[in-house]
């Protein structure tokens, strides 16, 4: 098939307008995720074809206007204003919420006046119809001076019309330009000498930015020399546009008369109640954690047995030698250490995406704001803190929605204390070795220990924030402005796609590094200075004893530093390797004990570690004291190179990334 044209289209809209649902419908599985250059803000792009034309659709973060207050809003601004940006679009689709048309149209007008060929999509028509809201399509096109498509992502209504309209998007110069206020006209005119290619409105918009605009550096200088206060420009533009839009909306729909949140208000009276709201929230968290441990254990056991079987199968089928050892003792236990995480990651993200889809997460932010404020955090810190239970990397990235710089920095610094999924197998392994099995009433001892570690992580996060807030200064007063979306029935396809993408990112991201480290550890644990002596008749190789291997030599050399903590050299290697990523600890121990084991009848790592004895005292190496010490170390230490890198990029400073490394690891060392 010959492609007639290829166009890059940006998908823009307010948060919670169904933008991602439309993106998923249009692109299906033909999506990819990536990062914006220079910073770690994730973006999604996808491809689709229509009538021999190919389109790349870029799903930009949700924004209310082109006056950014957070990092992801700045991304949208830069993408649309910086023509050098790799995602600078040919055309723009603005997705509006049929129930909150006014604020969607503010964004639409701004984008249209930037000169982009723009298509307006009014989505969530099912919700509008349910509330009796009607639109006059012809009037809408006339009043907005633009093509308008009405859709309902839930039922896929209007998708065919949308595709057809995308093909025809063109630029129509609107008559109702935003008029630059007279007092600023001469200033903007003088700036046109520097930026000849920019329209007056673009210069106005650049001057209205609170932050410095790196891609037009002289604007900051002009702002200072002309004593321009960006907030004043923003207020002027917003008020003028709203006054115009008020009339437009009255002419094209009966929305203003009918808008009534009805059921949403009734549900909110319970879910955001001063007492029942918290009871329901903590009850929900309890259910999530129960599901995380109880439901996930069955597939996890199945995966562990599968890899154990695969390892034994390779030992029985491949002749003895280094290749057999690499596969059965190095790669298979290493890969197993990654795959075993999948059920927990998938369950956790199912819940998180489900709550977001329903519209409950905004209520949690509202509920928690008053409790987190005394610790220097914001209600919006709840999202990174909860996401931190899965992985600190997306959690730190999600802190970009916090407007206040101090609250954002504090959230980034303390989020890695939350018990991430990489800590979970470490905890599960150590707990099953040192905490006895048994029940207290109906509560399992090992379960209590695990829950205690999750609570400990949260308490340490808010305690650290409380201390750090006295040392970090803020220029702005903090306030919470929230969009409370209406409650919606979640779309199964959105949840499934979200869970699939998150799990895939985890497996591919962590999997590659674990695989490489497993190979390295296996080689270091299998070879040593005396390897040559292990050849029988120069043909059969019998491997090297672990303590004589290079890994053994490294472990023994760091043993004096960790012996006072009650750790042996094998634990030392585990800790050392997990500074790359915590999740490396379990595969490391699996590789070490797999190389070292002569016991063919006891394939489980837990049994091998439980039997380990101190050669001097002949007592178990893993006792309650050393186990608790190890657990505390893993609870507090910053052992994730990727998180350090993300913190550096999000704070744009090595100072805070290194401070976090020293602060967390210092607490960990002192606590053990």
């Amino acid at each position: 098939m010959n492609i007639k044209k290829f166009e890059k289209i940006a998908l823009i809209g307010n948060p919670n307008v169904g933008k991602s649902s439309l993106f998923n419908i249009l692109t299906g599985l033909n999506q990819k995720t990536g990062n914006y250059p220079g910073i770690t803000v994730e973006f999604k792009s996808g491809f689709f074809k229509y009538n021999n034309n190919a389109y790349e659709l870029i799903d930009l973060p949700g924004v209310y206007s082109l006056f950014p207050n957070s990092v992801d809003e700045e991304i949208v601004f830069e993408t649309l204003l910086n023509e050098e940006h790799p995602n600078f679009p040919d055309k723009v689709i603005v997705v509006a919420d049929a129930l909150h048309l006014r604020r969607s149209l503010l964004l639409f007008q701004q984008i249209k006046e930037l000169g982009f060929p723009t298509l307006l999509v009014i989505n969530m028509m099912d919700e509008a119809e349910r509330k009796g809201i009607k639109f006059d399509t012809k009037k809408a096109v006339l009043e907005l001076e633009n093509e308008v498509v009405f859709t309902n992502a839930r039922t896929k209504m209007g998708i065919a019309e949308l595709k057809a309209a995308i093909e025809k998007i063109s630029y129509k110069k609107p008559n109702h330009y935003f008029e630059i206020p007279k007092e600023y006209q001469s200033k903007i005119e003088s700036m046109k000498h520097i930026y000849r290619n920019l329209s007056e409105y673009k210069i106005w918009l650049l001057l209205a930015q609170k932050q410095s605009v790196t891609f037009y550096p002289e604007i900051t200088h002009c702002k200072t020399s002309n004593k321009i206060i960006p907030k004043r420009l923003q207020t002027l533009e917003t008020l003028r546009r709203y006054s115009f839009l008020q009339n437009v909306i009255q002419n094209v729909s009966n929305q203003e008369k009918l808008i009534n949140k009805g059921i949403t208000n009734k549900i909110d009276s319970i879910l955001t109640h001063n007492f029942f709201g918290y009871i329901l929230f903590f009850g929900l968290l309890f259910i999530i954690f129960q599901a995380l441990f109880y439901v996930a254990q069955y597939p996890m056991e199945l995966i562990e047995s599968g890899f154990s079987y695969a390892s034994n199968f390779l030992k029985n089928t491949i002749p003895e030698g280094p290749i057999q050892s690499l596969l059965a003792d190095g790669l298979i236990p290493g890969i197993g250490g990654v795959i075993i995480f999948i059920p927990q990651i998938a369950i956790l993200f199912t819940f998180l995406i489900l709550l977001e889809e329903i519209g409950y997460m905004s209520r949690v932010v509202y509920l928690m704001d008053r409790w987190l404020k005394p610790f220097g955090l914001s209600g919006k810190s709840v999202v990174p803190l909860i996401s931190g239970v899965a992985c600190a990397i997306p959690a730190v990235m999600s802190a970009r929605s916090i407007e206040n710089a101090k609250e954002r920095l504090l959230t980034i610094l303390v989020t890695p204390f939350m018990t991430c999924s990489a800590r979970l197998p470490v905890y599960a392994l150590i707990i099953s070795i040192v905490i006895p099995k048994g029940d207290w009433w109906l509560l399992n001892y090992q379960g209590i220990a695990l829950m205690g570690l999750y609570i400990l992580g949260f308490l340490m996060a808010i305690f650290s924030s409380f201390i750090l807030k006295f040392f970090i200064k803020s220029q702005y007063k903090s306030y919470l402005i929230l969009d409370m979306p209406i409650y919606k029935i979640p779309l199964f396809s959105n949840i499934a796609l979200g869970v699939f993408n998150k799990t895939k990112d985890f497996v591919l991201g962590a999997g590659k590094i674990i695989l490489a480290i497993s190979v390295l550890l296996w080689a270091l644990g299998t070879f040593g200075p005396k390897t040559e002596a292990n050849w029988e008749n120069n043909t059969v190789w019998t491997g090297t004893k672990l303590e004589d291997s290079y890994l053994g030599i490294i472990g023994k050399s760091i043993e004096p530093a960790i012996k006072p903590l009650g750790y042996d050299w094998k634990m030392g290697i585990g800790i050392l390797s997990s500074f790359a990523a915590r999740e490396v600890f379990v595969p490391t121990m699996a590789t070490i004990y797999s190389i070292d084991s002569d016991d063919e009848n006891s394939p489980k790592l837990v049994d091998k570690m439980r039997k380990e004895q101190n050669p001097e005292t002949l007592k178990p190496v893993y006792n309650l004291a050393s186990g608790v010490s190890l657990l505390l170390f893993y609870a507090f230490a910053m052992q994730c190179a990727s998180t350090i890198a993300i913190v550096k990029r999000e704070t744009n400073s090595w100072k805070w990334a290194l401070f976090q490394l020293v602060f967390m690891t210092g607490i960990a060392y002192l606590s053990v």
Binding site: G321, L326, I517, S642
Partner: protein, 45 residues
């Protein structure tokens, strides 16, 4: 399989693993931010 061939395979895999880890570390800690937006007449250099 001949022991020497096995050794060659392992060396290749090991070199690839070490190369991958070094590259990953380099990518993780190297800033990708450039200053190509800073034109000569903008007063930012």
């Amino acid at each position: 399989m001949n022991i020497y061939i096995q050794y060659i395979c392992i060396v290749v895999i090991l070199v690839f693993a070490v190369w991958y880890i070094i590259n990953l570390a380099k990518d993780t800690f190297t800033s990708k931010k450039d200053d190509k937006n800073c034109g000569s007449n903008c007063g930012c250099k």
